[in-house]
Symmetry: C2
Subunit: 190 residues, 2 copies
Protein backbone atom coordinates (compact mmCIF):
# COMPACT_ATOMS: atom_id res chain seq x y z
CA UNK A 1 0.00 0.00 0.00
CA UNK A 2 1.46 3.41 -0.85
CA UNK A 3 2.16 5.48 2.22
CA UNK A 4 -0.06 8.55 2.44
CA UNK A 5 1.71 11.84 3.07
CA UNK A 6 1.64 13.01 6.68
CA UNK A 7 -0.65 16.00 6.09
CA UNK A 8 -3.31 13.64 4.78
CA UNK A 9 -2.97 11.56 7.88
CA UNK A 10 -3.38 14.64 10.12
CA UNK A 11 -6.47 15.61 8.14
CA UNK A 12 -7.96 12.13 8.64
CA UNK A 13 -7.18 12.23 12.36
CA UNK A 14 -8.85 15.65 12.50
CA UNK A 15 -12.05 14.26 11.00
CA UNK A 16 -12.01 11.35 13.43
CA UNK A 17 -11.38 13.81 16.28
CA UNK A 18 -14.49 15.80 15.35
CA UNK A 19 -16.62 12.66 15.32
CA UNK A 20 -15.25 11.42 18.68
CA UNK A 21 -15.51 14.90 20.21
CA UNK A 22 -19.15 15.20 19.24
CA UNK A 23 -20.40 11.65 19.78
CA UNK A 24 -18.06 10.27 22.43
CA UNK A 25 -16.18 7.00 22.55
CA UNK A 26 -19.13 4.60 22.91
CA UNK A 27 -21.23 6.68 20.51
CA UNK A 28 -18.72 6.30 17.66
CA UNK A 29 -18.50 2.89 16.02
CA UNK A 30 -15.81 1.54 13.72
CA UNK A 31 -18.45 1.69 10.96
CA UNK A 32 -19.04 5.40 11.68
CA UNK A 33 -15.29 6.03 11.43
CA UNK A 34 -14.86 4.07 8.22
CA UNK A 35 -17.78 5.98 6.68
CA UNK A 36 -16.45 9.37 7.85
CA UNK A 37 -12.91 8.68 6.64
CA UNK A 38 -14.10 6.81 3.53
CA UNK A 39 -11.84 3.89 4.33
CA UNK A 40 -12.43 0.17 4.02
CA UNK A 41 -11.84 -1.93 7.18
CA UNK A 42 -8.51 -3.24 5.86
CA UNK A 43 -7.13 0.23 5.09
CA UNK A 44 -8.43 1.58 8.40
CA UNK A 45 -6.69 -1.22 10.27
CA UNK A 46 -3.45 -0.71 8.32
CA UNK A 47 -3.51 3.06 8.91
CA UNK A 48 -4.65 3.27 12.53
CA UNK A 49 -4.79 -0.21 14.05
CA UNK A 50 -7.92 0.23 16.15
CA UNK A 51 -10.62 2.66 17.23
CA UNK A 52 -8.80 3.20 20.53
CA UNK A 53 -5.48 3.91 18.83
CA UNK A 54 -7.18 6.47 16.58
CA UNK A 55 -9.01 8.00 19.56
CA UNK A 56 -5.65 8.50 21.26
CA UNK A 57 -4.23 10.20 18.15
CA UNK A 58 -7.36 12.39 18.06
CA UNK A 59 -6.96 13.37 21.73
CA UNK A 60 -3.30 14.17 21.13
CA UNK A 61 -4.16 16.37 18.16
CA UNK A 62 -6.98 18.10 20.06
CA UNK A 63 -4.72 18.83 23.03
CA UNK A 64 -1.68 19.99 21.06
CA UNK A 65 -3.90 22.26 18.94
CA UNK A 66 -5.24 23.75 22.19
CA UNK A 67 -1.81 24.45 23.64
CA UNK A 68 -0.54 25.82 20.30
CA UNK A 69 -3.61 28.05 19.87
CA UNK A 70 -3.33 29.54 23.34
CA UNK A 71 0.44 30.02 23.03
CA UNK A 72 0.01 31.86 19.70
CA UNK A 73 -2.72 34.03 21.22
CA UNK A 74 -0.45 34.92 24.15
CA UNK A 75 2.35 35.90 21.77
CA UNK A 76 -0.09 38.19 19.97
CA UNK A 77 -1.94 39.73 22.93
CA UNK A 78 0.25 39.12 25.95
CA UNK A 79 -0.43 36.54 28.69
CA UNK A 80 -3.26 38.18 30.66
CA UNK A 81 -5.24 39.35 27.63
CA UNK A 82 -4.91 35.90 26.09
CA UNK A 83 -6.26 34.27 29.26
CA UNK A 84 -9.15 36.75 29.24
CA UNK A 85 -10.05 36.04 25.62
CA UNK A 86 -9.64 32.26 25.79
CA UNK A 87 -13.05 31.45 27.37
CA UNK A 88 -14.90 33.30 24.57
CA UNK A 89 -12.80 31.53 21.97
CA UNK A 90 -13.40 28.12 23.58
CA UNK A 91 -17.17 28.43 23.16
CA UNK A 92 -17.24 30.80 20.18
CA UNK A 93 -16.46 28.47 17.29
CA UNK A 94 -19.83 27.71 15.73
CA UNK A 95 -18.24 25.05 13.52
CA UNK A 96 -16.82 23.09 16.48
CA UNK A 97 -18.38 19.63 17.00
CA UNK A 98 -19.24 20.49 20.62
CA UNK A 99 -18.91 23.34 23.09
CA UNK A 100 -17.72 21.02 25.85
CA UNK A 101 -14.02 20.16 26.06
CA UNK A 102 -13.15 16.83 24.40
CA UNK A 103 -10.73 16.01 27.22
CA UNK A 104 -13.38 16.42 29.93
CA UNK A 105 -16.00 14.55 27.89
CA UNK A 106 -13.55 11.66 27.54
CA UNK A 107 -12.66 11.72 31.22
CA UNK A 108 -16.32 11.71 32.29
CA UNK A 109 -17.27 8.95 29.88
CA UNK A 110 -14.38 6.56 30.45
CA UNK A 111 -13.00 7.08 33.94
CA UNK A 112 -15.56 4.79 35.59
CA UNK A 113 -14.60 2.04 33.14
CA UNK A 114 -10.90 2.40 33.98
CA UNK A 115 -10.28 2.88 30.28
CA UNK A 116 -6.69 3.95 29.46
CA UNK A 117 -8.00 6.83 27.30
CA UNK A 118 -9.35 8.49 30.47
CA UNK A 119 -5.76 8.61 31.74
CA UNK A 120 -4.59 10.05 28.39
CA UNK A 121 -7.24 12.78 28.72
CA UNK A 122 -6.12 13.47 32.32
CA UNK A 123 -2.52 13.88 31.24
CA UNK A 124 -3.53 16.38 28.55
CA UNK A 125 -5.64 18.34 31.06
CA UNK A 126 -2.53 18.54 33.26
CA UNK A 127 -0.47 19.93 30.37
CA UNK A 128 -3.15 22.52 29.63
CA UNK A 129 -3.19 23.46 33.33
CA UNK A 130 0.60 23.91 33.19
CA UNK A 131 0.19 26.15 30.12
CA UNK A 132 -2.32 28.29 32.02
CA UNK A 133 -0.01 28.43 35.05
CA UNK A 134 2.92 29.55 32.88
CA UNK A 135 0.82 32.38 31.43
CA UNK A 136 -0.35 33.48 34.90
CA UNK A 137 3.31 33.52 36.00
CA UNK A 138 4.23 35.61 32.95
CA UNK A 139 1.37 38.01 33.69
CA UNK A 140 2.72 38.38 37.23
CA UNK A 141 6.26 38.96 35.97
CA UNK A 142 4.83 41.67 33.69
CA UNK A 143 3.08 43.29 36.67
CA UNK A 144 -0.39 42.59 35.23
CA UNK A 145 -1.44 40.41 38.19
CA UNK A 146 -0.65 40.81 41.89
CA UNK A 147 2.50 38.82 42.75
CA UNK A 148 0.86 37.48 45.93
CA UNK A 149 -1.19 34.91 43.97
CA UNK A 150 -0.01 31.37 43.37
CA UNK A 151 0.02 30.85 39.57
CA UNK A 152 -0.73 27.13 39.94
CA UNK A 153 -3.79 27.84 42.11
CA UNK A 154 -4.98 30.49 39.67
CA UNK A 155 -4.57 28.03 36.81
CA UNK A 156 -6.50 25.30 38.62
CA UNK A 157 -9.47 27.56 39.34
CA UNK A 158 -9.37 29.10 35.86
CA UNK A 159 -9.36 25.68 34.20
CA UNK A 160 -12.21 24.50 36.44
CA UNK A 161 -14.33 27.54 35.57
CA UNK A 162 -13.50 27.06 31.90
CA UNK A 163 -14.63 23.40 32.01
CA UNK A 164 -17.86 24.53 33.70
CA UNK A 165 -18.41 27.23 31.08
CA UNK A 166 -18.00 24.69 28.32
CA UNK A 167 -20.50 22.30 29.92
CA UNK A 168 -22.92 25.21 30.46
CA UNK A 169 -22.57 26.31 26.82
CA UNK A 170 -23.94 22.90 25.76
CA UNK A 171 -27.23 23.77 27.44
CA UNK A 172 -30.10 25.23 25.43
CA UNK A 173 -30.82 28.83 26.34
CA UNK A 174 -27.72 29.41 28.47
CA UNK A 175 -25.82 32.62 27.72
CA UNK A 176 -22.28 31.25 27.62
CA UNK A 177 -20.91 34.58 26.39
CA UNK A 178 -22.03 36.26 29.62
CA UNK A 179 -20.32 33.60 31.75
CA UNK A 180 -17.14 33.85 29.65
CA UNK A 181 -17.16 37.62 30.16
CA UNK A 182 -17.46 37.16 33.93
CA UNK A 183 -14.48 34.79 33.96
CA UNK A 184 -12.49 37.41 32.03
CA UNK A 185 -13.62 40.14 34.46
CA UNK A 186 -12.46 38.03 37.40
CA UNK A 187 -8.97 37.92 35.89
CA UNK A 188 -9.00 41.69 35.48
CA UNK A 189 -9.59 42.03 39.23
CA UNK A 190 -6.62 39.87 40.30
CA UNK B 1 -47.23 -10.41 40.06
CA UNK B 2 -47.60 -8.84 43.50
CA UNK B 3 -47.04 -5.12 43.43
CA UNK B 4 -43.91 -4.09 45.33
CA UNK B 5 -44.36 -1.33 47.86
CA UNK B 6 -43.27 2.12 46.66
CA UNK B 7 -40.24 2.43 48.93
CA UNK B 8 -38.82 -0.72 47.38
CA UNK B 9 -39.31 0.79 43.98
CA UNK B 10 -37.51 3.99 45.02
CA UNK B 11 -34.67 1.90 46.38
CA UNK B 12 -34.39 0.00 43.10
CA UNK B 13 -34.43 3.26 41.13
CA UNK B 14 -31.70 4.56 43.45
CA UNK B 15 -29.48 1.58 42.68
CA UNK B 16 -30.07 2.03 38.94
CA UNK B 17 -29.31 5.76 39.34
CA UNK B 18 -25.94 4.98 40.90
CA UNK B 19 -25.03 2.64 38.06
CA UNK B 20 -26.13 5.12 35.35
CA UNK B 21 -24.44 8.02 37.17
CA UNK B 22 -21.15 6.17 37.33
CA UNK B 23 -21.09 4.38 33.98
CA UNK B 24 -23.27 6.57 31.75
CA UNK B 25 -26.08 5.61 29.40
CA UNK B 26 -24.09 3.68 26.79
CA UNK B 27 -21.88 2.14 29.47
CA UNK B 28 -24.83 0.54 31.30
CA UNK B 29 -26.47 -2.43 29.62
CA UNK B 30 -29.82 -4.05 30.35
CA UNK B 31 -27.81 -7.02 31.63
CA UNK B 32 -25.89 -4.74 34.04
CA UNK B 33 -29.18 -3.36 35.34
CA UNK B 34 -30.81 -6.76 35.75
CA UNK B 35 -27.75 -7.99 37.65
CA UNK B 36 -27.62 -4.88 39.88
CA UNK B 37 -31.34 -5.00 40.67
CA UNK B 38 -31.41 -8.83 40.82
CA UNK B 39 -34.37 -8.91 38.44
CA UNK B 40 -35.12 -11.25 35.56
CA UNK B 41 -35.83 -9.63 32.16
CA UNK B 42 -39.59 -10.21 32.48
CA UNK B 43 -39.82 -8.59 35.93
CA UNK B 44 -37.57 -5.72 34.82
CA UNK B 45 -39.81 -5.08 31.82
CA UNK B 46 -42.96 -5.26 33.93
CA UNK B 47 -41.54 -2.90 36.56
CA UNK B 48 -39.76 -0.31 34.39
CA UNK B 49 -40.55 -0.95 30.73
CA UNK B 50 -37.13 -0.12 29.28
CA UNK B 51 -33.63 1.07 30.09
CA UNK B 52 -34.53 4.58 28.91
CA UNK B 53 -37.67 4.72 31.06
CA UNK B 54 -35.62 3.67 34.10
CA UNK B 55 -32.89 6.18 33.24
CA UNK B 56 -35.52 8.92 33.24
CA UNK B 57 -36.82 7.80 36.65
CA UNK B 58 -33.20 7.79 37.88
CA UNK B 59 -32.58 11.33 36.58
CA UNK B 60 -35.80 12.52 38.21
CA UNK B 61 -34.77 10.99 41.53
CA UNK B 62 -31.25 12.43 41.28
CA UNK B 63 -32.58 15.91 40.53
CA UNK B 64 -35.34 15.98 43.14
CA UNK B 65 -32.89 14.70 45.79
CA UNK B 66 -30.58 17.58 44.83
CA UNK B 67 -33.25 20.26 45.13
CA UNK B 68 -34.54 18.74 48.40
CA UNK B 69 -31.03 18.50 49.87
CA UNK B 70 -30.17 22.10 49.08
CA UNK B 71 -33.55 23.36 50.30
CA UNK B 72 -33.12 21.53 53.61
CA UNK B 73 -29.60 22.92 53.97
CA UNK B 74 -30.88 26.46 53.37
CA UNK B 75 -33.54 26.01 56.04
CA UNK B 76 -30.85 24.93 58.46
CA UNK B 77 -28.11 27.43 57.62
CA UNK B 78 -29.81 30.26 55.75
CA UNK B 79 -29.56 30.88 51.99
CA UNK B 80 -26.03 32.32 51.63
CA UNK B 81 -24.34 29.86 53.97
CA UNK B 82 -26.09 26.97 52.21
CA UNK B 83 -24.83 28.20 48.81
CA UNK B 84 -21.32 28.47 50.28
CA UNK B 85 -21.39 24.94 51.68
CA UNK B 86 -23.01 23.28 48.67
CA UNK B 87 -19.86 22.97 46.49
CA UNK B 88 -18.01 21.08 49.26
CA UNK B 89 -21.01 18.82 49.76
CA UNK B 90 -21.32 18.16 46.00
CA UNK B 91 -17.81 16.70 45.83
CA UNK B 92 -17.48 15.54 49.44
CA UNK B 93 -19.49 12.34 49.45
CA UNK B 94 -16.90 9.59 49.15
CA UNK B 95 -19.67 7.01 48.63
CA UNK B 96 -21.11 8.82 45.59
CA UNK B 97 -20.76 6.93 42.28
CA UNK B 98 -19.03 9.94 40.68
CA UNK B 99 -17.92 13.46 41.55
CA UNK B 100 -19.33 14.86 38.31
CA UNK B 101 -23.00 15.84 38.15
CA UNK B 102 -25.22 13.12 36.66
CA UNK B 103 -27.23 15.76 34.76
CA UNK B 104 -24.18 17.21 33.04
CA UNK B 105 -22.74 13.77 32.29
CA UNK B 106 -26.04 12.82 30.65
CA UNK B 107 -26.20 16.07 28.70
CA UNK B 108 -22.63 15.68 27.42
CA UNK B 109 -23.11 12.05 26.47
CA UNK B 110 -26.49 12.25 24.77
CA UNK B 111 -26.98 15.74 23.38
CA UNK B 112 -25.10 15.01 20.13
CA UNK B 113 -27.35 12.01 19.57
CA UNK B 114 -30.51 14.10 20.03
CA UNK B 115 -31.55 11.62 22.69
CA UNK B 116 -34.66 12.73 24.65
CA UNK B 117 -32.85 12.05 27.96
CA UNK B 118 -30.49 14.96 27.16
CA UNK B 119 -33.54 17.23 27.16
CA UNK B 120 -34.71 15.72 30.47
CA UNK B 121 -31.29 16.47 31.96
CA UNK B 122 -31.45 20.04 30.59
CA UNK B 123 -34.82 20.62 32.19
CA UNK B 124 -33.53 19.43 35.56
CA UNK B 125 -30.48 21.71 35.28
CA UNK B 126 -32.89 24.59 34.70
CA UNK B 127 -34.85 23.70 37.85
CA UNK B 128 -31.61 23.54 39.84
CA UNK B 129 -30.61 26.93 38.42
CA UNK B 130 -33.98 28.33 39.53
CA UNK B 131 -33.39 26.91 43.02
CA UNK B 132 -30.00 28.65 43.17
CA UNK B 133 -31.55 31.91 41.90
CA UNK B 134 -34.27 31.76 44.58
CA UNK B 135 -31.62 31.34 47.29
CA UNK B 136 -29.57 34.25 45.93
CA UNK B 137 -32.73 36.38 45.97
CA UNK B 138 -33.42 35.34 49.57
CA UNK B 139 -29.83 36.19 50.52
CA UNK B 140 -30.33 39.63 48.98
CA UNK B 141 -33.63 40.12 50.81
CA UNK B 142 -31.80 39.22 54.05
CA UNK B 143 -29.11 41.81 53.28
CA UNK B 144 -26.40 39.14 52.94
CA UNK B 145 -25.64 40.01 49.29
CA UNK B 146 -25.57 43.41 47.59
CA UNK B 147 -28.99 44.13 46.07
CA UNK B 148 -27.39 45.42 42.84
CA UNK B 149 -26.71 41.88 41.60
CA UNK B 150 -29.12 39.99 39.35
CA UNK B 151 -29.97 36.73 41.17
CA UNK B 152 -30.48 34.86 37.89
CA UNK B 153 -27.03 35.92 36.62
CA UNK B 154 -25.46 34.93 39.96
CA UNK B 155 -27.18 31.54 39.76
CA UNK B 156 -25.99 30.92 36.19
CA UNK B 157 -22.35 31.65 37.02
CA UNK B 158 -22.53 29.72 40.30
CA UNK B 159 -24.00 26.67 38.58
CA UNK B 160 -21.37 26.86 35.83
CA UNK B 161 -18.53 27.02 38.36
CA UNK B 162 -20.11 24.14 40.27
CA UNK B 163 -20.28 21.98 37.13
CA UNK B 164 -16.63 22.82 36.46
CA UNK B 165 -15.66 21.94 40.02
CA UNK B 166 -17.39 18.60 39.70
CA UNK B 167 -15.60 17.79 36.44
CA UNK B 168 -12.29 18.88 37.99
CA UNK B 169 -12.89 16.70 41.05
CA UNK B 170 -12.97 13.65 38.74
CA UNK B 171 -9.33 14.31 37.87
CA UNK B 172 -6.54 12.51 39.69
CA UNK B 173 -4.49 14.83 41.87
CA UNK B 174 -6.80 17.85 41.63
CA UNK B 175 -7.60 19.53 44.95
CA UNK B 176 -11.35 19.93 44.54
CA UNK B 177 -11.69 21.13 48.14
CA UNK B 178 -9.51 24.17 47.37
CA UNK B 179 -11.62 25.07 44.32
CA UNK B 180 -14.85 24.61 46.32
CA UNK B 181 -13.45 26.93 48.99
CA UNK B 182 -12.67 29.57 46.37
CA UNK B 183 -16.22 29.39 45.01
CA UNK B 184 -17.53 29.89 48.55
CA UNK B 185 -15.12 32.80 49.12
CA UNK B 186 -16.39 34.45 45.91
CA UNK B 187 -19.92 34.39 47.34
CA UNK B 188 -18.70 35.98 50.55
CA UNK B 189 -17.36 38.92 48.52
CA UNK B 190 -20.65 39.66 46.70
Amino acid sequence: MPRKPNYDRQELIGRARDLFWQRGWAGTSLKDLEAELQMKPGSFYAAFGSKDALFELALNQYASDGVAGLTALAQELGPLEALKRWPQIAIGNGAAPAKACMLSKTLLELRAHNHPLAETASQHLLKMEATFAALFAQAQAAGEIDAAHNPKALALRYQSDLLGLRVSAEREGVDGVAIAQEIADDLGAL
